[in-house]
């Protein structure tokens, strides 16, 4: 899902007054999920829309230079279940956002063939306090690891091997 209108740049609820609370349920969801098949710059993406809340917790995951077995890695291939993947992340992100009282969530995840060092995942959670931002960001990353239908295959030369599990915390 590539959300074209961005609800990520909502003004801080703290900065609003009066009847804003009553209208909140009518607003667009403050969750934005994007699956990218091409490289993206996490910093440029962040610069444009991460400045309205007092606290921002960010996680960036990159391709390791070696395989799970410790050997040289040429590339990491990422595939997903289109539709189900985006919807699961979206639902889980909104659930965690409400659970932790966070303000806005952005998730960018790569698919396709990635080289070592390339960004796989970017998670940004904005909130009015650091605790909700950090906790929501950490838990959302676990959701991406364990509950979203993505699969990684490590390539060395013409040998590809699907990973059977995630790296431990």
């Amino acid at each position: 899902m590539l959300v074209t209108n961005s609800p990520f740049c909502l003004p801080s609820p703290v900065a609003e007054m009066g009847d804003a609370k009553a209208q909140r349920s009518e607003r667009p969801k403050a969750v934005q999920v994007e699956i990218h098949s091409e490289p993206f710059s996490p910093w440029q993406r962040l610069e444009s829309c991460c400045d309205r809340f007092a606290a921002s917790a960010v996680f960036i995951g990159r391709v390791r230079p070696e395989s799970a077995q410790g050997t040289h890695l040429d590339a990491l291939e990422l595939t997903h279940y289109p539709g189900m993947c985006e919807r699961r992340i979206d639902e889980d992100a909104e659930r965690l956002r409400q659970l932790h009282g966070a303000g806005a969530v952005l998730v960018l995840h790569r698919v396709g063939r990635l080289s070592p060092g390339e960004v796989i995942v970017l998670v940004v959670v904005q909130a009015d306090r650091r605790g909700p931002a950090q906790r929501c960001c950490n838990e959302l990353l676990e959701v991406l690891k364990h509950d979203a239908p993505f699969w990684k295959r490590e390539w060395c030369g013409d040998q590809g091997a699907w990973l059977s599990g995630n790296t431990p915390l």
Partner: protein
């Protein structure tokens, strides 16, 4: 009316499900998508349909989704369902 239209459509899915495989399962089977008929004689579960694919026993770690929702392998299928077999997720 709807039933009559379906009856004359070339790709009638009124008695079949769409089956999707991912990652290692896809490589193992040699295909990623297949339309499978539902058995005519009574209810059929996701697990029963897997057995009809003749890919061996369903690995314990593989999860089943029907219409993009995770379900129990004993979930009963209906005509037109999208059935997916999902190896352990390794994203993030």
């Amino acid at each position: 009316m709807e039933a009559r239209l379906q009856a004359v459509m070339p790709h009638d899915d009124s008695g079949s499900v769409r089956v999707l495989l991912f990652a290692a399962l896809r490589d193992q089977a040699g295909w990623e998508e297949k339309r499978m008929p539902l058995a005519g004689d009574g209810p059929q579960t996701a697990l029963q349909l897997w057995m009809a694919l003749e890919l061996g026993a369903l690995p314990a770690a593989v999860r089943v989704a029907v219409n993009q929702q995770l379900v129990d392998p004993d979930q009963q299928l209906h005509a037109g369902d999208e059935l997916a077999f999902l190896p352990p997720f390794t994203g993030g």
